[in-house]
Assembly symmetry: C2
Homo-oligomer: 348 residues x 2
């Protein structure tokens, strides 16, 4: 039996192509919307928030703007007022229907921000009330764990970063390579079965990634929590060394995600060696040859430059979460206690 999640994982190359076709032409509009604005604020929760973490790094690195992640309770519960006349607020919600996000977007407009909504629902309150909606073209997603709505969000964010960055088409060109790369990883699954067997063997899982890949680590951990009902921490190696590394032992499997290039591959390789010395099993996703050799189990990552690597790293992450759930006899499509649209506060 194929799970819905598995089918939707397979639909990502086409979903990405459709999304890029729809959004790349909006770049001049995006540039215009951001004219005279000095910073970005991402507003999101859950998987969308992990996409926002990618956006935070990508926009700072590629476009040189300051970026912060919103704490929605400041708006919805503390009624803080801010001058956002120098800010573009980017709200991410796959359904476009999470009240907290809609409310925060409305607050941002009232504070003088220009607003961009990233959503998979063209007809949604979030899209309707934004200055500009980047509507991802994932199509209907039925499994509760987000897959194609997540990678198309990453694509939308990369299109935005391209629009705000230097006019060299670097990101757009890299993005055009993504769908084929995803298709290759989905079909060949290099290293996935070894990783499934290895992870099934340990009771404690930890995920690490840093910089541009940090959001991918957070998303893998969230996916594992949703599908396998097991708490999983995701930490940059910086945060890991500042305390939580105390939990790493022989019962632990550490999943490390890395781009194949960029300034953090060597630090991730050192982390693999360090946690192995503490007795942990290491499963490496992506990285370069030295990284793969340092990990006990190596899962191939995408052949993509670091700035867009997170779109490719999502595939092995999703395949692991889906596969591990099925090995445990759990239904990956329907995590306990979750539904497709989440409201943060009970109403009534």
């Amino acid at each position: 039996m194929t799970s819905r999640m598995q089918r939707e994982i397979g639909e990502q190359p086409e979903a990405l192509t459709r999304t890029l076709d729809a959004l790349l032409p909006l770049r001049s509009e995006l540039r215009q919307l951001a004219t005279g604005r000095r910073q970005l604020l991402f507003v999101a929760r859950g998987t969308s928030d992990n996409a926002g973490v990618y956006g935070r790094y990508l926009v700072e690195i590629h476009a040189g703007l300051g970026v912060a992640l919103a704490a929605p309770s400041l708006t919805t519960h503390y009624a803080v007022r801010r001058d956002l006349s120098d800010t573009v607020v980017v709200s991410l919600s796959q359904s476009g229907a999470t009240e907290e996000i809609i409310e925060t977007q409305a607050w941002a407009r009232a504070c003088g921000a220009s607003t961009i909504a990233v959503t998979n629902e063209a007809v949604s309150p979030l899209a309707a009330q934004a200055d500009l909606a980047l509507v991802t073209q994932a199509g209907p997603e039925l499994a509760v764990p987000a897959t194609k709505t997540y990678t198309t969000q990453l694509a939308a964010i990369a299109v935005l970063a391209d629009a705000l960055g230097p006019p060299n088409d670097y990101l757009a060109t890299a993005l055009r390579r993504v769908p084929d790369e995803l298709a290759r990883l989905i079909v060949t699954r290099p290293g996935i079965d070894d990783a499934l067997a290895a992870l099934a063997d340990r009771s404690r899982w930890l995920v690490s990634g840093r910089g541009l890949v940090y959001g991918s680590a957070l998303e893998l951990a969230l996916k594992l929590e949703e599908t396998c009902r097991q708490p999983v921490r995701a930490l940059s190696y910086a945060d890991l060394r500042h305390g939580p590394i105390a939990v790493v032992d022989r019962a632990t499997s550490v999943v490390l995600l890395s781009a194949q290039d960029g300034p953090l591959v060597s630090g991730m390789t050192e982390l693999a060696l360090e946690v192995a010395q503490l007795g942990a099993q290491t499963v490496g996703i992506g990285g370069d040859d030295r990284f793969a050799a340092a990990c006990e189990v190596a899962v191939a990552g995408p052949d993509l430059p670091e700035l867009v690597a997170p779109l490719g790293l999502a595939i092995p992450a999703q395949l692991l979460a889906e596969g591990l759930a099925r090995e445990r006899g759990l239904d990956p499509d329907a995590p306990r206690g979750l539904s497709k649209v989440t409201q943060t506060d009970a109403r009534g």
Copy 2:
């Protein structure tokens, strides 16, 4: 046998008094340093980062400035340049010797920021290179898990927020009540023994707090990881509902932290009822009467207003981490694999 951690927990009322005496007189200097600056950026790792999370909420709520938390790798690994001429950068490091934080502070100066160092070491590179150093007066801290260096950091941040906020002395007055409140909680330990027994009974721990108390939840989770070698997630109820709640079951104990007042007590109370319905045990720290009644085990919190409640909530959190470690036969003073000064990247 008394642990060092236990002794240092007990030293906090005096450490706080000394710190307030030293730092409250610096408020006009702080105000001057921030004149014409529109936002704050906190730079920190580990426990100091959790203090920064408190600072983020406190400064936005009390002083109305925009606040972001730095991602140091943007500086140390991606060499991003920013215009920080409208920003005050606040770097937190108990030792004042973590290279990554020192490097990021130097970067911030070069980008035009004014810089404030919060550190427990008057003679440290971080203090020497800042425009102004807020030196906490915790005295030497020998146990590896931070206790008094953390609560004095919170006090330093609250002094800063007072300086930047409305000139009504509200925070300063509330802060002056903190030392006695800490002393009371340390001596009477209301509910601590019940909570220790309850937590020892479950294998999976989860922590939740939101808004001003979110940093306290992160810090309790970190403390439990350090002393008990067990992975512990801390999530706002917003983030918890967006996926991770799938892990909550009958093996789970959820520790909920709340101030006794403020806009989030009722949401935290609803969360207690919700996770109890999923079979989890609930241990509530602080809150109001309704919150305490909704939790299976109630630990008293401080009689302090929400804006400074995190200073008081630290006490039961520390007592729990210390007590649980000892019940497990672990030495709370010396977590596995950690030392007092952490360097993020291996050098050499």
